[in-house]
Symmetry: C2
Subunit: 195 residues, 2 copies
DNA sequence: AGCATTCTAGAATACGGATTCGCCAAAAGG
DNA sequence: CCTTTTGGCGAATCCGTATTCTAGAATGCT
């Protein structure tokens, strides 16, 4: 019952992602999204109530995708070296496999993408990081036997911030990641865990 | 000869910085900058030909300021441990002393701030990083006896990217830097230099 | 076929914000 | 005091974009 859809939400999200990555977040205009998807503007509004909502959903979709990769990765157990290696390798691989979304997430903050976060997505935003926070506490417990604030901070710095640092500048400049990067990052990560 | 200026360029740059930091780059409208500086919009245009030029100058001013801090810092000589300690300490101190500019530089890319870089500032942009690149090569030479591409990459990762990573997430969330952070960052930095 | 429903389509409209422009004010020199 | 020059001032204008609105098309149901 009803006409068969010609455009899906994901079509517009993909189009928006492409534009954001290529020409920056402010260049994501509804007209351009529509053009990139081969659709008229009205069809975009048929799927998304507003530009902010479109971008917010793009953000959520991207965050969910990285998170899934992070959560699905095998935990490192109580071996700091192993945890370091896996976290860094995972980050580098994910960036290589999802260049667009990597750029979106690493080079923009939510606020830069979405001017005013739509109420409709309020809850969505609230619980977004819970699973990752849990996983980090799990790592802290496995490595140090406790999930104290300090232990969690340490794990986050090592497993999140350092891989991030390894990748970010290159992602911004567009240069390829140098081959020695992984080794350095693992060393740094390991040191942060051990210290 | 001529009326005495009531507003200086820096007044508007400071106002713009405050708005960018508080409400994000897109919220930096000329009307708001003027209001924040207690001036009418016309006076802003008397100093800056366009919004892009204003933001570009703000960017350049901020970059110059960090660079000065980085360049003025005493070099670590051939001791990786010392170099690591100094780089991390410098970064943490600078962020603490210049919270506004730190947020501007660490949380925004140039492209997010300035839509289209004004031609008038073309050269200004070109040579902006030369001095820092030189300094990094100097560090590479002092530490490893050579400024090969790989050595420079290593030094940059350790002395720039890691301190950056240590600070960025907190800067975005607004939380204070945890006391153990410096120690972890130094350990990571040192490991990246030694490996 | 008639009807309800789900979409496509894109022209018309509304609006926020950058930029312009004409005019007034305050020094400084003669 | 008159003239020149540098600045302050802010209402009016212009433009790019988000958003709305009216039509029409495709599909399933009875």
């Amino acid at each position: 019952m009803g006409r068969r859809p010609k455009f899906a939400e994901d079509d517009f999200l993909d189009a928006a992602l492409g534009i954001a990555v290529a020409r920056g977040a402010p260049a994501v205009t509804i007209a351009d999204v529509a053009a990139a998807a081969g659709a008229p503007v009205g069809s975009v509004y048929h799927r998304f109530a507003s530009r902010d909502l479109l971008l917010a959903r793009l953000w959520v979709r991207s965050v969910r995708r990285v998170q899934r990769a992070f959560l699905d990765a095998p935990p490192g157990g109580d071996d700091p070296g192993l945890a370091a290696e896996r976290a860094v390798a995972l980050a580098l691989r994910w960036v290589a496999e999802h260049p667009g979304e990597a750029r979106l997430l690493l080079l923009h903050r939510r606020e830069d993408l979405v001017r005013r976060w739509p109420r409709e997505l309020g809850e969505e935003l609230a619980g977004l990081n819970d699973a990752v926070a849990d996983a980090l506490r799990g790592h802290a417990r496995a490595l140090y036997g406790r999930a104290s604030k300090e232990a969690v901070e340490r794990v986050t710095f090592a497993l999140v911030d350092i891989p991030y640092a390894a990748v970010r500048r290159r992602l911004a400049s567009g240069e390829p990641l140098p081959p020695t990067l992984e080794r350095m990052a693992v060393a740094a990560c390991r040191a942060a865990l051990a210290d």
